[in-house]
Symmetry: C4
Subunit: 359 residues, 4 copies
């Protein structure tokens, strides 16, 4: 059967992955309410096509002063060697080939330096400037370790730091098979939960103290001149404060429904955050994006771009770099078709008037 | 098992069609949201019967100055020989036998001249004036080819041109088996998508330039004296402009959910368009019509008539001309029964007061 | 497995009935929307129990000047010998045993005289006055035949005439097996649909002319002194007019979802009709009643009593008279339990304040 | 497969219980609407996490002047030896180990004295003051028997009386196997339903007279100095009156959907009762609690604590005391994680602003 859509890749991926890895990638926390909402929120929004419009334009956007060929990036997804032996190297080569940016996780299973090198090499082969690479930071128990990560990212040419703040107390969720490791954290200690029955479990323990706070953000702001994006702050008031504290962009995300179950969909959170941020910084959003129509909906609701998470792992497991590249081509083609059918040949023309609530 | 309803035909059709053809006929784009909405919109509307009313009347309507025996037409459906060797010839004979009009697709698998001749012959046998035939136009890359099609339609006795504007960038979706071809387009070039990875895909390419624009409508308006109906313009403002530009009727349609997924149902779009058109031209609607009650709902919401798409192919595949004729008889009988139970023995008596939202 | 609820009987009935009879009993018209709504409307309404209330009371009601032990009657259901060889005789004996009234259909498969005699005999054995029997009238093509039916009902002791007005054009739906016949209509002609393809189908045909009109109601009002109830007039304005024309009660019904698909549930129609009738005549309602909680909901929304249709046939098929009697005992027990838990030990205490919309 | 959540225990329990016991534990009355609503109400409420907050705090609450380590109690569940030979002894030991309070049913299958002794012994072993034990009272047909139960509870160290008022007419629902008995009621007569077909069934019978009334509450208030909580009064007006009559707390409950089907979820009733009680007494709620996120939702909507019912039986059947203890640890851990992710490290910080309706 031919692979024509991102959900074709998803279906196929189940047969290419060990059961435990498949479960790990797909799972949502709790009863999976947020996971389902991430998709359902897109499906509840309808589109109003405009007939007979002019279709001269392109999908290009500007983000933090840099041109992106399309309003899509590969989101940070840990341990990509779970899905394919080449892991992040395959993903980043595909992203480079399709001129799509990528956010590399702290928990990458390939070093950030090797990933950056692969991107540059691929872009070189194609005679293009590489698409942007950003580094996603999980704060480490010791600030010096966090700082080491930032410095390495700066040195390797990453163009922004994405500080993820929503997953501090998330347990790991899978036993890593041999050869899959958080190689960027080699030599650093990892926090762990140690509950005393009847006593404190999380609140007030060292684990909770290690969770990122506003002071950590302020520290990071001082520590680097790279643009900082906050991933996972979803309240209007938190978004506003973060902008006041100097972040350069916000990634509206519920972590793919993997942390607190019951959080509304990324798409709905986006609407609150967009109001609060009032255009002061660009917004990205993720959670459930699978179709070109999803992307145009997010853009019409105020996102500058979207991230895709799980589809990377699906495509990677099915066909490595070629899978990710084809998956990105499918998505980009769908975006263009949707823009054309809406009569909006530029991202900035996508606006709430093109949307309608489906009943 | 006896065939008593249009969905009986649908169920049976699956066993009469090659899997790929069945999938092609049934499919909706994307996640099938629009496809499902087309049906769900009818199912959400309830009917309020009026007891003890007088039942003297008929289903006849007037459309563009011509009497139609019932508020139903066969909509344009390409390549009907996919469903039955006689293809459009079987459909048009059935339509003629049941005194129901038909819209012939640009992509018919029988020439428009042969279809028109079959309709006239059948009406002659029954000693009746033939029911109306309209020609559905897909604009061709070269205007001279579009003009050739219009001239042939005029010559063959087609009574109106239906310009479909919602499917310019829709890929074909099926590999045509031998013997099934767009015979009306013999000798004309067909547009094709040629994406360069990393470069432009649709927007700004020749393919996008060939999509119909307002200038094309203006050209067509000048090119023929036949009535023109626009199929697939679903925004109030597009409808208004089209009427200003001289179209004689509007067919509110999301192309059976086959193009942009997420477009609301035809029935809901109808309500917007009806407001915008404000009675200046007659409105037709399609998408999901399967029952007599669907037809009365559409009429009560402002449609003059409905088109049926897929049910033609279902009935055709099950029993050729006899199938389509029986399917049309079932539908016409259901329409009469629904009108009787509503106490509305004339189409013009169907009004929003007979409807109620179901919860 | 023990039979503890009416749906236990329903489930079991499927194994006691020929497939075609089962389908015939269960079926709804069209897509079954009304059929499902009949149940769903009950399920959408929640109940607010009142704690610690006094529980001294009973389920007895007054209807047309007559005491009924419970707010429930067996509704008119044709051809009960389809479900059990004793047919209506078994049902009426069970009703008499449980002191529940019954409405006998024009299309009973036992003569109305034999049914009445069986009811009297059973009540005699129990040393009680028989519960009320009403006769349901389908108008016959010739008025003299309708009159004959009314006169026979008067003579046999039926206490009211129920004129059903919603099913005039409903096709029969099942081929009657040998021995099951409309014995009350022996010697009378039956109307039949004879469509000419391409010509008139129902509207304006003799069949439509034979459908009951307001003039027929006026005639019936003059023809008998028995109370008349109208079954199937569901619009507020029709209800009002019927009361003006002298009917003594209204049975709000969509015929169990068997006629026009899309009609709202009986329970929802009840609320409109209750407003229009403004207490001038008692209201009954049917459609989907299966539980004691359904009955209290209907009463709280303005019904004096409910009818049950299909559950008669289910219980009859499972265990004949004993089945119907047990089914009625189950329902009466459930009604009492629900009234107790609501703190409403009398039907008149059931009011909208005990209800709440479930989300 | 590892047991990581309360629903893992539920799934597993089915294989550890005789079919009839499983059905008995799981069942809801009627069509199970209330049973489903109990869960659905939690699932419809979304959570709004607050990023970067301080996480120093604990789950401890005060209830009737007593510290509880967590806002959770084991609710009264009859006949726990149906699930495990140690029955209530296993549950209470687990509760004591996890420092969680327990409400012991009148229908316990172990005497209330033995249960209290086991709790004290376990707390002693752990060197802690025992967590609170409350006694749930079903009024007995004779007041002297009810009084005996209260006196025994006082003597055994129970700290409150929970008067359940919603289940007076509930039939037992299961035939108790040998060795499982209401040992606390030894020597007392049990009420029984004895319907005469055609006559009174419940209303106005001795059974109805034995149901608790406001006079019984007044008597109980005079009879004991222990705090009294009313379980199952769910109307605002009943709640208000109960507080006026001196109850010390309200347990908002629909008895796990086991009595009157159609009652809204505990969570929704809570909101009405909270308004009526206006903070005069603490509120507890139960029905459907399975996750830490459920607990934080209930607290944010005004509950001081929640009870869990069925999960006790599930965990008991799977692994006896160890099962219940682990189940409680899972729940407590989930509560802490949810509070952390919401940025609310104290129960009193949970407020409606952290919630949002999911669509
Ligand atoms: C397997 C997996 C690993 C992830 N690892 C990270 C991570 O290391 N850092 C991070 O910020 N987000 C991580 N995420 C969250 C994604 O960045 C993203 O927010 C989410 O997957 C978006 O939803 P989608 O999968 O529906 O596209 C991970 C998600 C998945 C599925
Ligand atoms: C197999 C197929 C082929 C179609 N071909 C055409 C076409 O050539 N031209 C056109 O305007 N619409 C075409 N349509 C759309 C139909 O005219 C119509 O809008 C749609 O089928 C209505 O929905 P329904 O199938 O639910 O009745 C096609 C639809 C189907 C299913
Ligand atoms: C098998 C069957 C036969 C029926 N026959 C009659 C009839 O002869 N006359 C009539 O007025 N209604 C008839 N009805 C409708 C019932 O009186 C009643 O309105 C309906 O069954 C109520 O819905 P319920 O079946 O969900 O209880 C019939 C219904 C069924 C299911
Ligand atoms: C098997 C079982 C037995 C119960 N026994 C009692 C009881 O004896 N007394 C009482 O007040 N509630 C009793 N309940 C109701 C529970 O206290 C509680 O209200 C309900 O189970 C909460 O819902 P949950 O099971 O969804 O947590 C019982 C519930 C179950 C499932």
């Amino acid at each position: 059967e031919t692979l024509r859509t991102l959900s074709d890749y998803e279906r196929r991926a189940e047969h290419h992955l060990p059961a435990e890895v498949w479960r790990h990638i797909q799972e949502g926390s709790g009863r999976g309410i947020t996971l389902r909402e991430n998709r359902a929120a897109f499906d509840r929004i309808g589109l109003l096509p405009r007939a007979l419009a002019d279709l001269d334009g392109s999908t290009a956007i500007d983000l933090l002063g840099r041109a992106h060929a399309a309003p899509v990036m590969l989101g940070p997804v840990a341990y990509q060697r779970l899905a394919h032996p080449e892991g992040e190297l395959a993903s980043v080569r595909a992203a480079a080939a399709l001129d799509v940016g990528m956010i590399v996780s702290t928990l990458a299973s390939v070093t950030m330096e090797d990933i950056a090198a692969a991107a540059i090499a691929m872009a070189g082969e194609l005679g293009r400037r590489p698409a942007p690479l950003w580094f996603q930071l999980y704060l480490q128990p010791l600030r010096e370790h966090s700082l080491q990560l930032v410095r390495r990212a700066e040195a390797a040419g990453y163009e922004a730091i994405v500080l993820t703040v929503d997953a501090a107390l998330k347990p790991q969720g899978i036993t890593l098979p041999p050869g899959v490791e958080p190689v960027n954290l080699a030599g650093m200690p990892r926090p762990r939960q140690t509950a005393v029955p009847g006593g404190r479990i999380l609140l007030g323990t060292p684990l909770a103290q290690a969770a990122p706070g506003w002071d950590d953000l302020a520290w990071l702001r001082r520590a680097t001149t790279l643009p900082i994006l906050l991933k996972g702050a979803v309240l209007g008031e938190d978004a506003r404060r973060a902008v006041d504290e100097g972040v350069d962009g916000l990634i509206v995300s519920n972590h793919g429904g993997r942390v607190l179950d019951g959080v509304p969909s990324g798409l709905e959170l986006l609407q609150n955050v967009a109001e609060a941020a009032a255009g002061r910084v660009p917004l990205l959003v993720d959670g459930g994006v699978q179709l070109g129509t999803d992307v145009v909906k997010a853009l019409a609701l105020g996102a500058r771009a979207v991230l895709i998470g799980r589809p990377q792992m699906h495509a990677l497991s099915v066909a490595g770099m070629a899978g990710v590249a084809h998956m990105l081509l499918v998505l980009r083609t769908e975006i263009e078709a949707a823009m054309a059918q809406l009569g909006c040949p530029e991202p900035r023309l996508l606006c709430p008037e093109r949307l309608v609530a489906l009943s």
